[in-house]
Point group: C2
Chain length 343, copies 2
DNA sequence: CTGTTAGCGCTTTCAG
DNA sequence: CTGAAAGCGCTAACAG
């Protein structure tokens, strides 16, 4: 359509042979010249480089992969791109790989086992060097099995099979961290609005909260109130906490969204945050955590780091150092206005 | 590490030759059998299929690609995976491709031109059949040029070069749609809290709003108030609208986040929504739009459809039917409680 | 119906 | 220092 100059706008890209011909050498020499091998004279090398440049030569990685035996490619299998978990994880992985020579194939299986199989076949056909499987829940997921020809790392949702390699968020530590912060700023009467109790995340956070309270010699105010992960539940839960009548000076919410709902209700009731009640939550989901008034102190699970770690584990396995078992990534406290006036 | 049975846990995957040997035929016959060619006897075919199965044979797409000349692969270049725009677009594209035999390479250039070049080189090296470039702003972006050997489609952020192919959101239509809905439910005194005025999105929406108001014989209440895309600005903007003193019965907010802020302030002031003032916004960002009280009526830009369209355009270009120019995808009204009591 | 041959683009011995 | 030849895994002619 719009051909001009030396660079071909369409049509097949230049091949090494064409470069070699233009430079007046053999393909072998051209290859050496382009790959920085020492067995080429300076002038020849320059001639080859010029030719390559003139033809906008880009080596065909497919051909290289066939020889070398590995494609420099990794498959990323996710279940919900919508989710705020998958994306940072994906970024971390892409980052860790992208620095090197590895490219990432993205596949979304939409929670569908059939589609998942289909994608895995396609990825193996493309001879990916490894597979990263990202779940959207913390609940363990079915293993892909051990007969795959490439290393597999499960992220966020661990594999239910201990022999697999998994990277997860440390929800217990997160629960502890939240309570420790509240205790650190002098709160003693701490309530908990939990998420959906069918999620391991909710149960683990509860365990962490309980442990940290015990460490501090405190007792939780009221039971952990379970619901869903929504703002609406945050309102309902906060309402229940206030209605219970027991004095409270802090609330741990299982997600930023729940905290938003709680904040909402507390303001309606004229409760000051953090003056009367401090609020802390989990996820540190940017727009939610920073859009509220006051902004939310939140526990960040370092998803991006989880993605990076997954990439590293793939590399390690490729290098012959597999690391079976589950690794937990430490969470991080991000302090904002819902727990401290200064911040 | 954990080898057993017939399927190799590691080591090179089985090749066609191995399958052929196991089945006692030539590679050519094996190839025909596996690819459903008619020139093979039923018994032979079955023998080959069995052998392939026993070796968990997966054809090497790289080799196939080298022959066929195309890799069945597309590059997706994005600038912000965080963004709520890129993800649905990406899903739409992955969907449209995934149905067929195409896999998607994901690359995030982090707004960095160097990194972008690097990624493009890598993708071209892998012989992608096409490139989809997703921007995070509606503002036009620099073209990648016309000397690339594969078709390129720009999404969300169009190319500044008219000769390129772009798919964008129709912000003018969105502005109209918002006003038409408000007028349809009987509102006459409409104000506008705009986003960041350096964004084409904000300017286009304003144009659409103005046009629809004119069509209805109405005049906007007060100026379009420009700010940022945040909840904080939504509060400030709503405050300004109320302070201006002119009666208002509806506010168009340039994003769901702005609308959340506005809702927040209106409630503080005892203004009922939608009773006293209806609120409508753009983006229809799930958790934000449905988490508020009342839920937000919002204009959805059909990002997923944009992604699909981009994929289709790549296919079309590959089939020799390029479509230069910019295509706008029609937005869609999603009605919720912030404009109607019934919904 | 089946097998032989050639070759996709590249790298790597191994001679010259 | 350079080139000829072999081969990665697969498919598409062509013979047989």
């Amino acid at each position: 359509m719009n051909s001009h100059g030396g660079a071909p706008s369409r049509g097949k890209p230049a091949t090494l042979r064409q470069v070699a011909e233009l430079a007046g050498v053999s393909t072998a020499t051209a290859s050496k010249a382009l790959n920085g091998r020492q067995q080429v004279s300076a002038t020849t090398r320059q001639r080859v480089l010029d030719a390559a440049d003139r033809l906008s030569f880009t080596p065909n990685s497919l051909a290289q992969a066939m020889l070398h035996g590995s494609s420099g490619t990794v498959g990323l299998l996710t279940h919900d791109l919508e989710g705020r978990f998958s994306i940072p994880i994906l970024m971390g992985a892409e980052d860790a790989f992208g620095a090197g020579q590895t490219s990432v194939f993205l596949c979304d299986s939409r929670e569908d086992a059939i589609r998942e199989r289909h994608h895995i076949r396609a990825l193996l056909g493309r001879r990916v060097d490894g597979l990263i499987v990202v779940g959207s829940q913390t609940n363990p997921r079915r293993s892909l099995g051990h007969d795959l020809p490439v290393p597999v790392v499960y992220v966020y949702a661990p594999s239910s099979d201990e022999r697999d390699t998994s990277v997860i968020a440390d929800n217990v530590a997160a629960g502890r961290l939240a309570v420790q912060h509240l205790v650190g700023i002098g709160r003693r009467r701490i309530a908990h609005i939990a998420g959906d109790p069918t999620y391991a995340a909710a149960r683990d956070r509860e365990a962490g909260i309980g442990a940290a309270l015990a460490d501090a010699g405190l007792t939780q105010v009221g039971p952990s109130r379970s619901g869903s992960w929504s703002e609406a539940w945050g309102r309902t839960g906060a309402h229940a906490v206030l209605e219970a009548g027991e004095p409270v000076d802090a609330i741990v919410c299982d997600s930023d969204q729940i905290a938003r709902g709680a904040l909402d209700l507390l303001r309606d009731r004229g409760v000051r945050v953090p003056g009367d009640i401090a609020v802390i939550s989990f996820d540190n989901w940017g727009p939610f955590a920073t859009g509220s008034r006051p902004q939310l102190t939140s526990i960040d699970f370092n998803f991006q780091q989880m993605g990076r770690r997954a990439a590293e584990l793939i590399f390690a396995a490729l290098a012959g150092e597999p690391a079976a078992g589950t690794q937990a990534i430490a969470p991080r406290l991000v302090i904002r206005g819902s727990t401290t006036v200064g911040a």
